[in-house]
């Protein structure tokens, strides 16, 4: 009866990765989000460094001394990437629940953790490639704009390579954290609310805490870890790579909790 011969063994992560990659690249919103990440990073870097260069002569000496060519060229990539790759991470999961394709997905692969693993791999690689490209391009573009007498850096300047590679990694991890949140929350709007709350609202609430406690809480928040990675550490911040490891911990926690929920709940 069968038109095709049935392969030996059973479906595996490689099959699901291929399927997830097709899903990612055959929907416009995904490609649009990835493209916007690059665009926002480059545009923000170009504008910020261009404006700085134009006003360099009239800038107060204190501002000139505090000026950091690394931070200025990466802020746009960092903020834009946090928002856009976070939304991408959410959509990868929540759009399946919104459209009902999750049931088709889980019917092809009832071993649900394998489905989540495939999503993590595909989203992780796509986000990492785009984020690293954005970080490097934004940095290099920004330094091009910062002509003399404005100060500029190169990739071999102290901390530059660490900042550029580090923020790329951070953006990839933040996308995976968002994916974990979406597995738990399922609804697009709900997941975005939780994610934005984590990124934007928690720091504001932490800011209301008294002195030393404030710093102890703030340094654990994604926004502080991200700022540290682009060379703008707050008081009492963790070292850049320590912060990144903490971020990875959050993402692993969210994804592990997501995997448990995905397996236990009806689809």
């Amino acid at each position: 009866m069968s038109v095709t011969t049935i392969p030996a063994g059973h479906y595996g992560t490689a099959d699901l990765v291929r399927s997830e990659w097709t899903k990612l690249r055959t929907v416009r919103s995904t490609l649009w989000t990835l493209g916007m990440t690059v665009f926002v990073g480059l545009a923000a870097s170009g504008i910020a460094t261009g404006v700085t260069r134009a006003h360099w002569a009239t800038m107060p000496a204190g501002n000139r001394a505090a000026f950091d060519p690394i931070e200025v060229s990466l802020t746009g990539a960092y903020l834009g990437g946090t928002l856009l790759l976070g939304i991408l991470g959410i959509l990868v999961m929540s759009s399946e629940y919104a459209t009902g394709t999750i049931r088709a997905t889980l019917a092809t692969a009832p071993r649900r953790p394998m489905v989540l693993a495939a999503k993590v791999l595909v989203l992780g690689v796509a986000a990492l490639v785009v984020a690293e490209f954005t970080a490097f391009a934004s940095f290099l573009l920004g330094q091009e704009f910062l002509t003399s007498p404005a100060r500029s850096d190169t990739l071999s300047s102290p901390g530059a390579l660490r900042a550029v590679t580090g923020i790329g990694l951070y953006l990839c991890v933040v996308g995976l954290l968002a994916l974990g949140i979406a597995v738990l929350v399922r609804h697009t709007a709900g997941a975005i609310s939780v994610y934005v709350g984590l990124i934007l609202v928690l720091p504001i609430m932490a800011g209301a805490l008294p002195g030393s406690l404030q710093h102890q809480v703030l340094r654990l928040l994604p926004v502080e870890i991200g700022e540290t990675l682009i060379n703008n550490p707050g008081p009492g911040a963790f070292a850049p790579w320590t912060g990144l490891v903490i971020m990875c911990g959050y993402a692993v926690l969210a994804l592990a909790a997501g995997a448990v929920f995905l397996v236990r709940r009806d689809a």
Binding site: T4, H10, T22, V27, T99, R103, T108, A109, R111
Partner: protein, 314 residues
């Protein structure tokens, strides 16, 4: 009432539910349901809206977990299937497609997950008549087209078992005929076809056998013809210019009569007996018609009992 153990078929394609139960909190959606769906025929899954058909189908597909009992496909629980799409295809909700994805991309991502060769995508698109719109975004599809795409997805892995939840809902007459013929054709190829509907008239035309449920409970599993024949609503309609002379006669034979719209309805006697009776009187007959109950009536009778039973339970 658990009923006798359901016989197990082997080396064939089939679906088997054993004491399947699903509770959502206090609400019992599926209640101790046991049945077997055999290959080679279309088996209808009949029940009013909200009777647990969709829940049962989601449990067959491993999407919802049973609270009790189990359901297997070809003897395996869904979770343990090696290549699910190659064993069972399902059309659960037609509109469960990402509106931004093309029909071809939708099928390709499903095919890849179960290592189904890409050429199969083209084949099923051709089969359901969507080849010319394969590159269009599925969000633009009419319900009928979406239903065809859902059917293409179900057939992608050339599975031996096919389940469809209300496949003709919202379709135009052409679409309905298409689904009906497709399902019958697939069953004729030796596949197991399980199709739910709340439309009894549709089941009468499509299904060979029906599993009837009400309030999540098993009510009956039997050939469509048998279900209809069993109905107590069966009667013979008699028209005659001399009805007055005929009217009292069947009573003497233990049958019930009723006068409706100038015709006599007789329950408890068949056409032959009434004809003979009329000839012996003698009475001229203008009409002597056996009315078999429609599947709908038979079904209403069954489900009314289940509702009364449930009501008395409280």
């Amino acid at each position: 009432m658990a009923g006798p153990p359901v016989p197990t078929l082997s080396a064939m394609t089939f679906i088997e539910a054993q004491h399947l139960t699903k509770r959502y909190g206090e609400k019992v959606a599926v209640d101790d349901l046991s049945f077997t769906v055999r290959p080679g025929i279309v088996t209808g899954f009949l029940g009013p809206n909200g009777s647990g058909k969709s829940t049962t189908m989601r449990m067959i597909m491993g999407l919802d977990y049973p609270t009790g009992g189990r359901v297997t496909v070809n003897g395996k629980q869904y979770h343990d299937l090696d290549w699910p799409l190659r064993e069972i295809g399902a059309l659960l909700e037609a509109k469960a497609i990402h509106p931004g994805r093309s029909a071809r991309a939708h099928l390709r991502m499903l095919a890849e997950a179960n290592r189904i060769p890409p050429r199969r995508v083209g084949e099923v698109l051709e089969l359901v008549g969507l080849a010319s719109v394969a590159g269009q975004r599925a969000g633009k599809f009419s319900l009928g087209m979406a239903q065809r795409l859902g059917m293409a997805a179900a057939l992608l892995g050339d599975p031996g078992v096919l389940i469809c939840d209300e496949p003709v809902n919202g379709l135009d007459p052409d679409g309905i005929r298409w689904v009906r013929n497709l399902l019958k054709g697939l069953a004729a190829e030796g596949r197991t076809v399980f199709v739910s509907s709340h439309l009894m008239s549709e089941m009468a035309l499509t299904a060979d056998e029906v599993v009837v449920i009400g309030r999540g409970r098993f009510l009956a599993q039997q050939p469509v013809a048998e279900l209809t024949a069993r109905s107590a609503a069966r009667f013979v309609r008699v028209r005659s210019p001399q009805l007055d002379r005929l009217r009292a006669a069947p009573d003497e034979h233990g049958a019930e009569t009723d006068l409706e719209d100038g015709a006599l309805t007789v329950r408890g006697m068949d056409r032959e007996a009434i004809g003979d009776l009329a000839a012996s009187l003698p009475v001229t007959l203008h009409e002597l018609a056996a009315e078999t109950a429609s599947l709908e009536e038979a079904f209403m009778e069954l489900t009314e009992q289940s509702i009364e039973y449930q009501g008395a339970d409280r």
